[in-house]
């Protein structure tokens, strides 16, 4: 088990955002956090590496309670990819090298450079190494952000809507890369997502949040149209196209 969350509570201005959230994540697993806008998906993700400090509860990251770890040690265990990626006059190589920050004491080592180089090859981005990130497309930037989290050598990836600003091809490419890397290296990933079809296709387990609680937690076979309607307030149909599971908003035509 990489992550164990117990009775997580988070208050914002005396208003309960998260109440008694509890779940576990295992090696090689991808978990999707789903739910409507403003339900606390991002908040929950940020509690997991203490970007936000939970008011109550216990979070064990690779066996240690995160309250007892210093911030750099948390960053060596959990790689975080925020929703918005900022740019500047940096080369892609330097932007990814920044992900070695938790490991660097004074200056970069040869090993740091080798790891960054290997990630560029792994993500098939060798040609971008010396491009400036302020001249990159949204898809390339998102890959840079994911590469940055990967060179942290984390046990778990925390991804906040990793595909929200990407076109269809980039969505598929990035999600399959994440799945491959998670399986290859036996790490884990937690993603907040809006696109249920992409979630069903790439994640192993699903956590639906509603009113600050976990409304449903399970795998695809247990998800029903009723659960989705409860969470999003919209009727849906579930089916499959060419063997790929999918959901469509609306009710079946009479």
């Amino acid at each position: 088990m990489i992550l164990n969350v117990q009775e997580l509570n988070f208050l914002y201005r005396n208003h309960d955002v998260l109440q008694n959230v509890a779940f576990e994540v295992n090696h090689g697993e991808i978990v999707a956090i789903l739910g409507p806008n403003g339900v606390g998906k991002t908040t929950m993700l940020k509690c997991l590496n203490r970007i936000l400090k939970a008011n109550k509860g216990h979070i064990y990251l690779d066996g240690s309670e995160i309250k007892t770890l210093d911030t750099l040690e948390i960053a060596r265990r959990a790689g975080y990819v925020p929703q918005r990626v900022e740019t500047g006059r940096f080369t892609a190589f330097d932007a990814v090298l920044l992900g070695r920050r938790p490991h660097i004491t004074w200056d970069v080592s040869e090993r740091d450079l080798r790891i960054v180089d290997a990630i560029f090859s792994r993500l098939s981005m060798e040609h971008l190494r010396l491009s400036y990130i302020d001249e990159m497309s949204g898809g390339e930037l998102q890959k840079i952000a994911i590469a940055r989290a990967l060179v942290q050598e984390p046990r778990i990836l925390l991804l906040d809507e990793p595909t929200s600003s990407l076109d269809l091809k980039n969505q598929v490419e990035i999600l399959s890369t994440i799945v491959d890397i998670v399986r290859e290296h036996g790490i884990a990933a937690i993603m907040t997502m809006h696109d249920l079809n992409q979630a069903f296709r790439y994640a192993d387990r699903f956590i639906f949040l509603k009113d600050g609680n976990i409304h449903f937690h399970g795998n695809f076979n247990d998800v029903t149209p009723e659960i989705i309607e409860d969470v999003y307030g919209l009727p849906v149909m579930m089916g499959s196209v060419g063997g790929v599971r999918c959901i469509v908003p609306g009710t079946a035509p009479a």
């Binding site: 690779d62 060596r76 920050r101 450079l113 010396l130």
Partner: protein, 359 residues
């Protein structure tokens, strides 16, 4: 296996070449600064050959008259220009990162205006301004220590207010910038209020004080500024990775284990201290802190590993060059350097903006 291992990569030669070019720029800057330093000491009312300047600085007795000029007048002035340039520029780099704002500079937070207000209080209320009869230096402050201390106290009051509000409202860039803008206009209004009731002499003394001038500092002031600027530059250099992380966005930085609020608060306090000391000793020298970091950004990019040392050098170069020209341009009169910094910096700055980034 539960930890990622990606160490099968190579050390990319093209990246190392790219890094080497940045280092060459920095080494080139240091050489330029050194050449300028010798030239600056060599020119003036009495011209001293650059080789003799170098030999005198290395401890050889070449000419007794030159000894006095070099050691007592030109050397401290040139060193003050370098130290103040480095200090204002490094404070500018830090402020631009901390405030996430390209207009960040040591003066964005209203600290220089607070210093000017302090000087006005000293001259007008405590009566420390006077008139002298020499042509080169018509108006002077008859109690420079009291004026300096008052200016410093008001700089620190402005800093304390910003720190206090940052503590209450969280050290966010918006809170700091807005508080700085408010303080800036508050102190400007205060200065105008005092000036309205001042005599001609007092008014002239206040205006004279605000013209930043590096010849005001003696060896003691220089020593104090050097220690502060030196330690601060080391602090910023040690934290270069943290500033890079902050430039990549708040959340990315936090995800990388950087204590963003603490870095912001420390960086701001240190930048404010540098500004307060320089303003108190030398008066207001604008533009260096804003422009030097941007000049360096256009040449070697935003990476703080090169930006911080590059800006330090550029600050020294710009202020020393400005001061040298200020001493020569209308000789035998000597212009305060603050007039020249903007004159020299603005055209170069505009050129760099128009040209865009170096490819």
């Amino acid at each position: 296996m539960d930890v990622i291992h990606f160490s099968d990569g190579k050390i990319p030669a093209d990246y190392l070449g790219y890094v080497r070019i940045k280092l060459l720029w920095i080494i080139g800057g240091i050489i330029l600064l050194f050449v300028l330093f010798i030239l600056s000491i060599s020119v003036g009312a009495v011209s001293i050959p650059p080789y003799d300047v170098l030999m005198t600085l290395l401890g050889q007795n070449i000419n007794h008259k030159w000894d006095a000029i070099i050691w007592n007048i030109r050397l401290p002035q040139a060193l003050t220009a370098i130290v103040a340039g480095v200090g204002l520029s490094v404070a500018g780099v830090a402020m631009q990162s901390i405030l996430r704002n390209p207009l960040g500079s040591p003066f964005t937070l209203g600290i220089s205006n607070a210093g000017a207000f302090g000087a006005a209080v000293s001259v007008i209320i405590f009566g420390t301004g006077t008139i002298q009869s020499t042509i080169a230096d018509p108006i002077s402050i008859n109690n420079p220590y009291l004026t300096t201390i008052t200016a410093f106290v008001f700089c620190m009051i402005a800093t304390a207010i910003i720190l206090l509000i940052s503590r209450i409202r969280g050290a966010s860039p918006e809170v700091m910038v807005l508080t700085g803008v408010a303080l800036s206009s508050l102190f400007t209004a205060g200065t105008m209020f005092l000036q309205y009731f001042a005599s001609d002499t007092q008014l002239a003394a206040v205006v004279f004080w605000t013209f930043g001038d590096v010849s005001r500092a003696g060896w003691n002031e220089l020593g104090l500024m050097t220690i502060l600027v030196g330690l601060s530059s080391i602090y910023f250099l040690v934290n270069r990775w943290n500033y890079n992380a902050i430039d990549a966005g708040n959340e990315t930085a936090k995800g990388l284990g950087v204590n963003v609020e603490r870095i912001r608060l420390f960086g701001m306090t240190i930048s404010a201290m540098i500004t307060a000391v320089i303003v108190a000793f030398l008066g207001v020298i604008g533009f260096v802190g804003l422009v030097c970091p941007h000049m360096v950004r256009r040449i070697i990019g935003d990476d703080q590993r090169y930006l911080i040392p590059g800006s330090c050098i550029m600050g020294g170069v710009l202020l020393l060059a400005s001061d040298t020209v200020a001493r020569l341009i209308v000789a035998p009169y000597v212009l305060p350097v603050a007039v020249l910094t903007a004159f020299m910096g603005a055209p170069v700055f505009i050129y760099l903006i128009v040209r865009g980034y170096k490819r």
